[in-house]
Assembly symmetry: C2
DNA sequence: TAAGTTTGTAACCATGTGGTCACATATTTT
DNA sequence: AAAATATGTGACCACATGGTTACAAACTTA
């Protein structure tokens, strides 16, 4: 049998990530990760210090936001910039399943183990929002709509519809985007 | 020992409700309910047909929306009416922990057992939204903001803040309400 | 080659889960 | 009063959970 610590350590981490991404926070457990990685769970404790350490590792690497980091570089000078920024953000969120599951996780618990992960996650979110976070009257309306976008995105995993809105059709998401755009315009007139 | 089927049946249901309300969907299990009710779990199967039947019972009774039903009677003729309706709805949501936990549940799973409960829940939500669901340009913006309100409400259970917004202060929620009002106004000008 | 260390496994533990069972004790019916 | 039925209990089952332990196999050092 071949032995390669670095490789198995990585294998564990990857299994953890894909498990979270595919099946959500509830499915993430020591046994499940070990099984998926095809490895003894003892190694998870030895190499990461259990699930807690695994979460910490994720927090520090912060993979889940890497695709969103590009948005931070933007300069927001006009309402058009803000609209573009919002649109890019919502699109990115809809693509990034890992981010979605971490956001979902924040709705479920907040304990010793998850605290650092969420702290980091929130810090990244704050960086992004800093761009639009002038204390204008638009501020809270904007936050509400982004929150709504997050909500509907998470909801769409298990629900096809919200009221009359079909969450599985691209058209609906386009309408949401347009609604945000229009609201930004109205507030800036 | 005294025996009273109706009473113990009720005791089971109440334990189930308070458990859901206090500790959320994850804490709701046969063992936990039986323990809280101080009764053998066998009776849960015998009287309700297990957790599934218990959920069905909740769906049919629909207690969780009873406090919101009053909102349905309103007539929405002016933008002022719509604003009042929105405000009443958000306030009601923030008070009603049971509704919150059912909405949280919808973000976690959707299976054989929960399907009926969610179906009913959505029907009730739809009734309420029917009032404001003219297909105006405001429609999606309004949905987004209500969605955001739900999101922040659920988030506030475990998180004190979203970005810079303090979810534990009444002031923040007032600002959210004002943002909704203002958006309605802007769309109707 | 021999000894020591690292990497890995499988068995085990205590606990918790949903679910079923045989049985005991009330309460009704005959 | 006796028999039948309804109500309730605790033990039990198979399985899954997180966590630990003892040991084997590979690799490193001496």
């Amino acid at each position: 049998m071949k032995k390669d610590r670095a490789a198995t350590k990585e294998k564990i981490y990857e299994s953890f990530l894909s498990l979270l991404e595919e099946k959500g926070p509830q499915a993430v457990g020591i046994n499940a990760i070990a099984k998926k990685a095809g490895v003894s769970k003892e190694l998870i404790y030895r190499y990461y210090g259990g699930l807690e350490g695994l979460l910490l590792h994720l927090a520090k690497k912060g993979d889940f936001f890497k695709s969103m980091l590009s948005l931070q570089d933007r300069e927001i000078n006009s309402t058009e910039d803000l609209k573009d920024f919002a649109k890019a953000g919502t699109q990115e969120l809809r693509k990034n399943k890992l981010t979605q599951e971490i956001l979902r996780w924040q709705l479920l618990e907040n304990n010793e183990a998850t605290r650092d992960l969420f702290k980091y996650s929130n810090k990244e979110m704050a960086k992004m929002f800093a761009i639009s976070d002038k204390d204008t009257s638009l501020n809270h309306a904007f936050q509400l709509m982004i929150g709504g976008y997050i909500y509907f995105t998470l909801l769409s995993k298990f629900n096809k519809k919200f009221i009359t809105t079909d969450l599985s059709s691209q058209e609906s998401w386009d309408k949401f985007d347009k609604a945000i755009e229009k609201t930004i315009d109205l507030f800036n007139k």
